[in-house]
């Protein structure tokens, strides 16, 4: 309990109990986010294509992810006879482990992280790059043509885009060293604090250098997570389902879980490095107690808005007895959202004075996590948007873009950033 007053993340403070609590919270949060993302992706994609998407299970298909999960759990789990049993069994776990381990250093707030490492960003890049091993081993262990080709494509793609991604990250890290002491940092929390000190999000630093590096990272991270338009590893028109063709049931769902968790993880790298992490918009312009209070109302407003939309759905539902259960269910869901909004409102008002009390600390924590998650959520929506908008690359085009366009540009941006940084000093 003594930890509550501290300003350190539990890993740095050496508090195992709170570290465990944070880990469980993040694990639950990410799992819920994956469920929500699953529903949102099907729904949003459908609306992009002027369809309705899932409508049957629950109001507006809200219970569809749970129905899917139940189906996947009950489905027969087939291991092909000629497959390499052990590796086939391990492969999805490698991907899942890599995707979830990186959350150790994701900075949801200045102390709202499991731990802070001196090598935070290196750790994130390294461990998330291990995820490809899951894909590669899955493709090989299936002992089948399509998965093997998918795995080969995926490993080539990952290695190519990692280079451009790494160089873009380095140019952001260079910017952290533009302070009094002249030393930069690799710590995720330190990177956000550097943006706080320099009064600028790195995406706007040395315009347009930061922006270019950010765009390169944003493209490379789509390729790293094997999402459209870079989803060559699972191109269904060419490879059936790519590396997970032979997987079914629970094991297949582990791949999906790992994919979405990895998407959230790389988005949080982008948010941390370029978009100011946990800071609310214009932190140096719109500060002071009044603005703080207004910004602290945003979480409550968001959930209030969601509750209003859900209530609208209840009102607009056809008044046929067939829809009665759905209507009640949606009303309960809306009421829960409204309750959450009310709770957040109470917290915002109770902790409005930044006097270091528990209520104020709690309110601050909610604000940090809210702004961080909101920025990540924008990226998650972009992932869906990309998928609906762009056709898939051809493999040679993919390689050409990676090596002949992204790599030179990111190298150039890195050099120019270094030169400008030296001049500015």
């Amino acid at each position: 309990m003594s930890y509550l007053g501290s300003q350190l993340s539990p890993g740095v403070a050496g508090n195992q109990l709170w570290a465990l609590i944070y880990i469980l919270l993040i694990f639950a949060g990410v799992s819920v986010a994956v469920i929500a993302m699953n529903w949102l992706e099907r729904k949003a994609l459908a609306h992009f294509q002027v369809r309705l998407g899932p409508m049957r299970v629950g109001p507006h298909g809200l219970l569809q992810p749970f129905a899917d999960a139940l189906k996947l759990l009950l489905k027969e789990d087939i291991i092909p006879a000629e497959a390499d049993q052990v590796v086939f069994w391990i492969a999805p776990l490698i991907g899942l482990l890599a995707a979830f381990t990186v959350y150790t250093v994701v900075p949801f707030g200045p102390s709202q992280a499991v731990s802070d490492m001196n090598i935070g960003i290196l750790f994130m890049l390294g461990v998330s790059s291990l995820g490809v091993l899951g894909i590669v081993t899955a493709g090989w262990a299936s002992n089948s043509h399509y998965p093997l080709i998918g795995a080969l494509r995926s490993s080539a793609q990952m290695v190519s885009y990692e280079v451009a991604m790494g160089l873009a990250v380095v140019s952001a890290i260079l910017m952290t060293s533009l302070n009094q002491s002249g030393t930069g940092t690799l710590s995720m929390i330190g990177i956000v604090q550097a943006q706080q000190e320099q009064h600028v999000w790195f995406v706007f630093k040395f315009f347009p250098l930061g922006l270019i590096a950010f765009v390169i990272f944003a493209i490379a991270m789509v390729a790293e997570t094997n999402r459209a338009p870079f989803d060559l590893a699972e191109a269904e028109s060419e490879l059936t389902a790519g590396f997970h063709t032979e997987y079914s049931g629970l094991r297949w769902s582990l791949f999906m879980l790992a994919e979405y968790a990895a998407m959230i993880a790389v988005s949080s790298i982008a948010v941390t490095l370029w978009l100011g992490g946990w800071m609310h918009p214009f932190p140096n312009l719109l500060n002071g107690p009044a603005w703080e209070f207004i910004f602290s109302l945003f979480p409550a407003l968001t959930f209030g808005g969601l509750a209003a939309v859900a209530f609208l759905g209840v009102a607009r539902m056809p008044s046929h007895s067939f829809f009665r259960i759905q209507r009640i269910g949606l009303a309960v869901f809306a009421a829960l959202l409204g309750l959450l909004a009310l709770l957040l409102l109470v917290t915002a008002i109770a902790g409005r004075n930044a006097d270091g009390s528990i209520a104020a600390r709690f309110r601050e924590g909610i604000d940090y996590v809210y702004w961080f998650v909101l920025k990540v959520a924008v990226f998650m929506y972009l992932f869906i948007w990309y998928r609906a908008t762009w056709p898939r690359y051809r493999f040679d085009q993919l390689m050409k873009v990676g090596w002949k366009v992204m790599l030179p540009i990111s190298l150039g941006v890195l050099i120019v950033t270094a030169v400008v940084g030296v001049i500015v000093k």
């Binding site: 740095v12 050496g14 390499d84 052990v86 590796v87 391990i90 490492m117 001196n118 090598i119 290196l122 750790f123 890049l125 390294g126 461990v127 790059s129 291990l130 490809v132 091993l133 590669v136 081993t137 493709g139 090989w140 093997l148 795995a151 080969l152 490993s155 080539a156 990952m158 290695v159 990692e162 030393t183 690799l186």
Partner: protein
Amino acid sequence: MTPVATPFFFYFLSALAIISGVLVITRRNAVHSALALIVTLLAVSGLYLMLYAPFVAGVQIIVYAGGIMVLFLFVIMLVNLERTVKEHQFNRIWPAGVLAAAALLGLFVSVYVKGKTLFPEGDIPLPEASNTQQIAVMLYGNYMFAFEIASLLLLVAILGAVIMAKKRI
């Protein structure tokens, strides 16, 4: 900050590294060997962390486990494995290997026995919080020339690989 370097972690990581290291050479299937090698590399990077060298640990994961091993697997998958499974796993000069291993073991034992006289006594400062920065100062300050030569060497190697692989440049 309380140290996490408890003996349990040390023995666990060492055992993991040794067991998977043995698996690397005893598995007949090359992909299994490669996977065991990845486990070894990760265990070694854990040992680096325990030595308060986080930067080396991170680079170990990125370069070896994430980069080189993916390429290894990539190549192994393209090779026909069925022939390699039938071939002899160890060639006839294994006594020489045993001799070399025994010499290394002797060296380790002698270091362990004479450890007190070989290494300085007292607490060593653990620059965990500034490890990366100190490495940077060393690489770009004291050893700048060697560092640049090494990067030039790598560039030459890359160019050589391209020239050898590409028929028409």
